[in-house]
């Protein structure tokens, strides 16, 4: 299908102008960044097309900077840039993995990291990776700026706490402790399809070969775009990281997570995937933690 007539189209060049437009037009407007979800939604007439605020010229939002040891990833950073950035690759591998796993080359050239989080599709790759890395979002609106942890930001499938007069400025990543490693693995019907299952792990090595800290977030599950696997985390945290631990998880992990059946896979198949991918992702994150950084 073709988009409905779009009544107003704005192309602000500064952040102040963009925020003013968002505040004025509120829920009547859509923010157009990469457009790789919005344009298909406009064509499907799934969202109204009264006003578009195209933020692609707001260069202040296209920046990647280090702040207080962590990273500030602007709302216009494209997935291609995230997947290729050596600093992200070194200190936030899970995010680089997820950015490389989403869509195809042309989509990644346009799609933004933040846009994928804001759409909050349950098969999204970026949100679980950002959750494993304990990311926060910086929002701005008429009342000023606020920071929200990603697990509070994403309330459910296609649902976030972003106000009608607010926009997301950036994703914030904390500085990783030493000996931290992370990864994101995805299982799809074909390469770079929607995630049948996605898994992000971030762990920190402790003394005596133990796993000092671990965060695991699953994607591709209907109940929520970010499913923290806290029971599995508890089973791993503080334990000696070895083959026996992973073998135990292979049989146990799948029993702790609720799965669903859809056109991609059955609930039983997803349970089996969890049993395979939880140990696999933990092992990769553990290997990466040996190279320090994360």
């Amino acid at each position: 299908m073709y988009p409905e007539p779009i009544e107003q189209y704005f192309q602000p060049t500064t952040l102040a102008a963009a925020l003013q437009l968002v505040a004025t037009h509120g829920s009547a407007a859509h923010i157009l960044a990469g457009g790789q979800s919005l344009v298909p939604a406009l064509k499907a007439r799934a969202v109204p097309a009264r006003a578009l605020i195209d933020i692609n010229r707001v260069t202040e939002l296209a920046t990647l900077t280090t702040r207080a040891g962590g990273l500030w990833l602007g709302a216009l950073l494209r997935l291609t840039a995230v997947a290729r950035d050596p600093l992200i690759g070194r200190t936030a591998s899970a995010l680089a993995d997820a950015a490389a796993a989403l869509g195809d080359r042309q989509v990644r050239n346009r799609a933004t990291l933040v846009g994928s989080i804001v759409w909050a599709m349950h098969w999204g790759d970026i949100a679980p990776a950002a959750a494993a890395l304990d990311a926060r979002l910086c929002l701005a609106g008429p009342a000023g700026r606020r920071e929200v942890g990603i697990e509070s930001f994403v309330v459910g499938p296609q649902l976030t706490v972003l106000g009608a007069q607010e926009m997301v400025l950036a994703l914030l990543l904390p500085a990783p402790p030493p000996h931290t490693g992370s990864c994101y693995l995805k299982h799809g019907r074909v390469v770079q399809d929607r995630a049948t299952l996605g898994i992000a792990v971030c762990l920190t090595r402790g003394p005596e070969g133990r796993c000092a800290e671990v965060r695991i977030a699953l994607g591709g599950l209907a109940q929520h775009p970010i499913c923290r696997a806290t029971q599995i985390e508890e089973r791993v945290r503080g334990q000696i990281f070895n083959a026996a631990l992973l073998e135990d998880l292979k049989h146990w992990a799948s029993t702790t997570i609720t799965t669903h059946t859809d056109e991609l896979a059955s609930a039983a198949y997803r349970r089996q995937l969890i049993g395979v991918y939880v140990p696999r992702a933990l092992e990769l994150a553990w290997q990466r933690s040996a190279e320090s950084g994360r």
């Binding site: 299908m1 073709y2 007539p5 192309q11 298909p40 064509k43 080359r105 042309q106």
Partner: protein, 168 residues
């Protein structure tokens, strides 16, 4: 609900007034008459056949509005050859039988044009780079062979000569 835009397409500036909802793919095809950019999947962004190079990177032109391209530079399949001389990738597609019906070919050419700016001839890397374009005739094998050939040729070229094949 119209807007005046200026877009540089294949080196030529075009001033047009377009509807806000006009897709970049239709701007190229209908407004400018450059019908080499094809639309395969009914504007869903799935087939990749409408891929063009926009500000130096490959994008699906059915997933962008024409108004977004105001002030930008676009390369479509019509801009690949230098006069009668085919782009090395076009020639390789011909040599390796990289097309049958040819409908998807512009999408592959423009996607792999961006890829070949840094010529890599490893077939797995090539396959990963082109999975955003669908072909229903060839089974992809000959397309991969064509990109390999073009990559080898471009890698052996003098850097200045190679740069002349990548104006955008």
């Amino acid at each position: 609900m119209n807007r005046a835009i200026t877009v540089r397409v294949n080196g030529t500036l075009h001033h047009e007034t377009v509807d806000h909802r006009l897709l970049l793919s239709d701007f190229l095809r209908e407004t400018l008459g450059l019908t080499g950019t094809h639309v395969g999947c009914g504007y869903e962004g799935r087939c990749g056949v409408c891929t063009v190079v926009y500000e130096g990177v490959a994008i699906k032109s059915c997933l962008m509005l024409a108004v977004q391209a105001d002030g930008a530079a676009v390369l479509s399949v019509e801009g690949l050859a230098r006069g009668e001389e085919l782009h090395p990738l076009q020639r390789a597609m011909h040599d390796c039988h990289g097309l049958q019906c040819g409908f998807c070919t512009p999408g592959f050419l423009l996607t792999m044009y961006e890829f070949l700016k840094t010529p890599v001839s490893d077939p797995n890397t090539i396959r990963a780079a082109m999975n955003g374009v669908l072909c229903r005739c060839t089974g992809y094998v000959h397309i991969v062979a064509a990109v390999e050939q073009a990559a080898r040729e471009l890698a052996q070229m003098d850097p200045d000569e190679r740069a002349r094949w990548f104006p955008l």
